[in-house]
Symmetry: C2
Subunit: 248 residues, 2 copies
């Protein structure tokens, strides 16, 4: 694991390409060496719980590879996903030690962790990191609000199209390809996880995915590999104005 690949998020500058993996030249490197000292890696198997709601979380972390979800659960078992962590995303909450939702690895997962206390101290010393973290949190809040529109007002078909568009765009960004032309990606979620994301049942998810396929918006190879035949059409189906919201 090269040093360049690790503290991606903490060190990217505002005007650098969103998912680049190299450390930006404009960031000073003091923080980098501090981070090096307090970081460690943890890996989880698919399905393993990283941390339970209410537990103490004595680290903050960023996802290196794999996918994790944040979910909330009601006593009777109803579940709602409230966050989806893809590579380079950040989890954890400097300044609060308990976490309010379950964090689960949905695929094999490698996280780069930083012990919370020294991380917080470092944050106090170097405001740059705190500012970057504020920016990231505000982006996350914007994404959450977009998601609220989806949950509250979109139809099942629109929800599915929206989710596919989000994953397609993030996947494209990760691969450093542009968002034009036919896109292709592997769904990182089961039907049930998609349902938890969208506030639907897994049967409805299955039906609507089939419907989008039948209507030629997407094609499938196997259950998981998706080909987006026309991204603009997909966005239209998603009911999104403009281009589907924020840069993700």
């Amino acid at each position: 694991m090269s040093l360049h690949e690790v503290p991606i998020l903490l060190h990217r500058c505002g005007d650098c390409p969103i998912r680049h993996r190299a450390v930006c030249a404009r960031c000073d490197t003091d923080e980098l060496s501090t981070l090096e000292q307090i970081k460690y890696y943890r890996s989880y198997q698919a399905g393993q719980t990283v941390i339970w709601s209410g537990d103490k979380m004595d680290f903050v972390a960023s996802v290196v590879t794999g996918i994790a979800t944040l979910t909330q659960t009601m006593e009777d078992g109803r579940r709602q996903m409230v966050g989806l962590l893809l590579p380079s995303d950040f989890v954890g909450r400097p300044g609060r030690q308990t976490v309010a939702y379950d964090v689960t690895a949905t695929t094999d997962l490698l996280m780069c962790c930083f012990r919370r206390k020294p991380f917080e101290e470092m944050m106090h010393r170097t405001p740059h990191v705190g500012q970057r973290l504020l920016e990231m949190t505000l982006d996350e809040l914007d994404a959450a609000r977009e998601w609220m529109l989806l949950l509250g007002r979109k139809t099942a078909r629109e929800k599915i199209a929206s989710l596919l568009a989000i994953i397609a765009r993030r996947d494209a960004a990760l691969k450093l390809r542009d968002s034009k032309g036919p896109m292709t990606f592997d769904l990182p979620l089961t039907r049930e996880e998609m349902a938890d994301y969208l506030g639907l049942t897994l049967e409805t998810v299955s039906r609507q995915v089939s419907a989008l396929k039948r209507d030629g918006v997407i094609s499938l190879e196997g259950k998981r590999h998706v080909i987006v035949n026309d991204f603009a059409r997909l966005l239209e189906e998603a009911g999104d104005d403009s281009d589907g919201g924020l840069p993700v």
Copy 2:
């Protein structure tokens, strides 16, 4: 307007009571005088739009009196509220100039604004403010995630009970009363606004409010004044574990 009543949020410390209005002794006062220099007040009438989605927002602000909402709208007019701003809440996004949703005054509204540029500069000088802002943003994100569970998985009755519980609790905090015993408050939202908050239609809101009244969970005086007969019962109806989530 006394100086003490203004930059409430920016200056409260982590362990001070949540909604206190005096400036905490542990905060240094340099920032206060800076803020004094760059602040101004704006008032809006009920129904007036503070700012449209996509517009430039050259200030950040905190609500002094009245209520504002953040809403997202689809082209066909479907609306979802994504934020509810009560007195002492903060709006605005240091580091980004356009806003991604409509901000509307639902009652007469007084806001204490700070010009964005000098505010950002002040933030860079005094990390304390940035840290406080990060903390507030993380709280807002937690609230948004609670809201996502509501939108995705709760029944209409649970949604209404949840909203009433949220308003009752915030109102009690504002009045500095404790949350025990019969609570009483004026609904600050119309049925339609409640519907936009909850992802329902106004007819369903009306029916479920009537149902909670019929079942003795709440009483009404007129359309707007609500008496919560038993707060614990209300929380139970809301389907919330523990006490309904986060401190608001």
